[in-house]
């Protein structure tokens, strides 16, 4: 399924390329065949489309896992990196580094993004904890909205310091995601991080099962609650940050995928985690294909596509009550 998704995402693009060309490129590169090809066509398939599909896949898998982690630890069906403002914080961090030059070139884009993500997440938790409305399940989402608004405003502020219509495009890149600049070096970062997240999450699958019944029950089952929370939350922030630093913030993947999978395989994390990662990967690759082909000659921000699918799911979750994840 993953391979079919990859092949499809590589075969479909802005311009139409014959499937045989795509297969020949893959044969040349992977098996050392020596078909003669136009170097531009070959470059498009191997250096543009394939890394793009791989990063889309890694991103989808990573964000879906973040959704699983956050929903279990926060015991909230609506928890997701984008809705909690973690993606917004990561965008701000990345923009600070890339546009303002904070860190003087020593701090990388991903590191800036990671700090932003941690800061945003910390703010959300702090807000939710110290609120006098505590106890309400929607509280953390409200805190997330406040944090998203704050960090998105900061991102817009950093970019929009000059009067030019182009500023809108720079902002769009970070707020809605864009995969067009993805090349092989991004793959080298995205895929290992997604795999690391997946393995770590799978390692703690029983703890996540236990957390579904609350931190107290988890503690009574002999789980080191504090340590697991810190490790997994950091992992979620890190994965989100790396993905955002590569492609901008893409929303709702962490919401749609785990919920759809729970309906299908049930709440057990042993199956939920790998299947969410797989489905997330395929979902984002498909969303990317749609974003490139929906309007001819124009590429839509991928965040528009995921939000068009994700926002109704979010609404449905609100309407049909909060089932415990």
């Amino acid at each position: 399924m993953l391979c079919a998704g990859l092949l499809l995402a590589t075969a479909i693009g802005e311009t139409s390329l014959d499937m045989t060309v795509v297969l020949k490129v893959l044969a040349n590169k992977l098996t050392g065949a020596a078909w003669w090809l136009d170097p531009i066509d070959e470059g498009i398939v191997w250096n543009y489309r394939l890394p793009r599909a791989l990063v889309a896949g890694a991103c989808g898998a990573g964000l879906a896992i973040c959704g699983v982690i956050l929903q279990a630890l926060l015991r909230n069906a609506l928890a997701e990196p984008y809705l909690l403002g973690i993606s917004a914080g990561a965008s701000t961090g990345a923009v600070m580094v890339s546009v303002l030059g904070v860190g003087g070139g020593i701090v990388s884009l991903s590191a800036g993004s990671f700090l932003g993500a941690l800061l945003a997440f910390g703010l959300v938790v702090l807000l939710a904890r110290s609120s006098r409305l505590s106890g309400s399940a929607g509280l953390i989402i409200l805190a997330g909205i406040a944090s998203s608004q704050l960090f998105n405003a900061l991102t817009a502020f950093v970019i929009a310091r000059s009067a030019n219509a182009e500023q809108a495009r720079g902002i769009l890149f970070w707020l809605l995601g864009n995969l067009s600049g993805v090349r092989w070096p991004s793959v080298g970062l995205a895929v290992p991080v997604a795999l690391l997240g997946l393995i770590l999450c799978w390692w703690y699958r029983r703890a996540l099962d236990a957390f579904t019944f609350g931190a107290d029950s988890a503690a009574s089952l002999g789980i080191a609650v504090g340590r697991v929370q810190v490790v997994l939350m950091t992992c979620a922030a890190l994965v989100t940050a790396v993905m955002v630093s590569l492609v901008g913030s893409i929303g709702f993947v962490g919401l749609v995928i785990p919920h759809a999978l729970r309906l299908w395989v049930g709440p057990g994390h042993g199956r939920l985690i790998p299947l969410s990662a797989l489905a997330g990967a395929v979902f984002l690759m498909a969303a990317d294909v749609v974003s490139r082909t929906l309007i001819k000659g124009q590429v839509l921000p991928i965040g528009v596509i995921t939000a068009l699918i994700g926002a109704p799911v979010f609404a449905a979750l609100l309407l049909y009550g909060e089932r415990r994840p």
Binding site: E14, T15, G43, A165, G181, R183
Partner: protein, 333 residues
């Protein structure tokens, strides 16, 4: 304001031909509004470098009470005039900063500064206070500024609209003859550049114009059909490979690489908001990216570096066309 455009037109034309001082009241048709002047404005404010530099070219610096919205340093030949004009803001000025100068005219380069969603204020707001706003016709004629990031050209940019703004501003300030002379000099420069370029006509020369990108490797902002850069290419017989009619659409490298233009024009600017604003970063990308380095123009080093301000509807575009004509002549050999 009571307008009699037809009568004013009759009045303005024959008199302006003799640069008579008494062609007031003067009514000028401007972007859907009729502006009437009882006398030449003594204090004007400009929003947009192109409008400012037209007034400097007409030698009207001492009539300027304030300038704003600068993209580049002022041209050296206008530095002496500019030194005496207060700069209200480097970017868009606030509505009140403009009013504080009590201007008798506000000359504006872009409609998004004073249009229906005006960044400074709407034209109606200014007109309600009795301050006429003159919008450069190149930004309103045949252009829908509510569509696309930088507006969308409904009709191809017409160089006449630029001449018109020079002539009309000269008329408003009662320096009609200076306006005519200036237009004639621009026309001569244009004709010369075209003559050089047509010497090697018959070849299909194509080009893309890369302005900048949000991130170095991501989809670039390139010149669309009908815009000023497209006009510059078309005038010299060069085909633009981009087909969108947006002024500066975002087009993927995949599409551009396959279109494989024979020339690549890259913009040079002082702005450093995005890494790709730096033309050296653009060159580096074109030469190192595994796909773009295989493009014909990159392989044969047919890359033209052009000043970004020469691709705007401003009097600097004549310099741009000259640079482009030089380049296409060089590569045609």
């Amino acid at each position: 304001m009571f307008c009699r455009p037809a009568l004013a037109f009759l009045l303005a034309l024959p008199l302006s031909a003799f640069a008579a001082p008494a062609h007031y009241p003067l009514t000028v048709e401007n972007c859907g509004k009729a502006l009437t002047f009882q006398r030449a404005p003594e204090r004007a404010v400009t929003i947009g470098q192109a409008a400012t530099e037209i007034l400097y070219a007409l030698g009207l610096g001492e009539r300027l009470a304030g300038s704003s919205l600068w993209f580049d340093p002022v041209l050296p030949e206008y530095a002496a005039q500019d030194a005496k004009v207060p700069r209200l803001a480097d970017n868009e000025p606030s509505f009140e900063a403009v009013l504080a100068k009590r201007p008798q005219l506000v000359a504006v380069q872009f409609e998004w500064m004073v249009g229906p969603q005006g960044a400074v204020g709407t034209r109606e707001q200014f007109h309600d206070l009795g301050i006429p706003t003159y919008l450069l016709p190149s930004d309103c004629e045949g252009k829908d500024n509510l569509k696309g990031a930088d507006g969308t050209r409904l009709e191809a940019f017409d160089i006449q609209s630029l001449y018109k703004s020079v002539r009309q501003l000269a008329d408003i300030f009662d320096v009609t003859a200076r306006g005519e002379a200036l237009v004639a000099s621009y026309q001569a420069r244009l004709a010369q550049a075209v003559a050089r370029a047509t010497r090697h006509s018959g070849k299909d020369v194509s080009a893309m114009v890369w302005f900048s990108s949000a991130n170095l490797a991501s989809d670039p902002f390139v010149a669309g059909r009908n815009g000023v850069a497209d006009f510059m290419l078309g005038t010299l017989g060069i085909r633009n490979v981009v087909e969108s009619t947006e002024e500066w659409p975002t087009v993927g490298w995949e599409t551009l690489a396959r279109a494989n233009p024979s020339l690549i024009v890259i913009a040079r600017m002082d702005r450093r908001r995005f890494p790709a604003d730096d033309y050296e970063k653009k060159l580096e990308f074109l030469r190192s990216d595994p796909v773009t380095r295989n493009m014909e123009a990159v392989k044969h080093n047919r890359i033209v570096i052009l000043d970004a301000d020469a691709m705007q509807a401003s009097t600097r575009l004549f310099g741009g066309i000259e640079q482009l004509a030089d380049a296409s002549e060089r590569y045609a050999r």
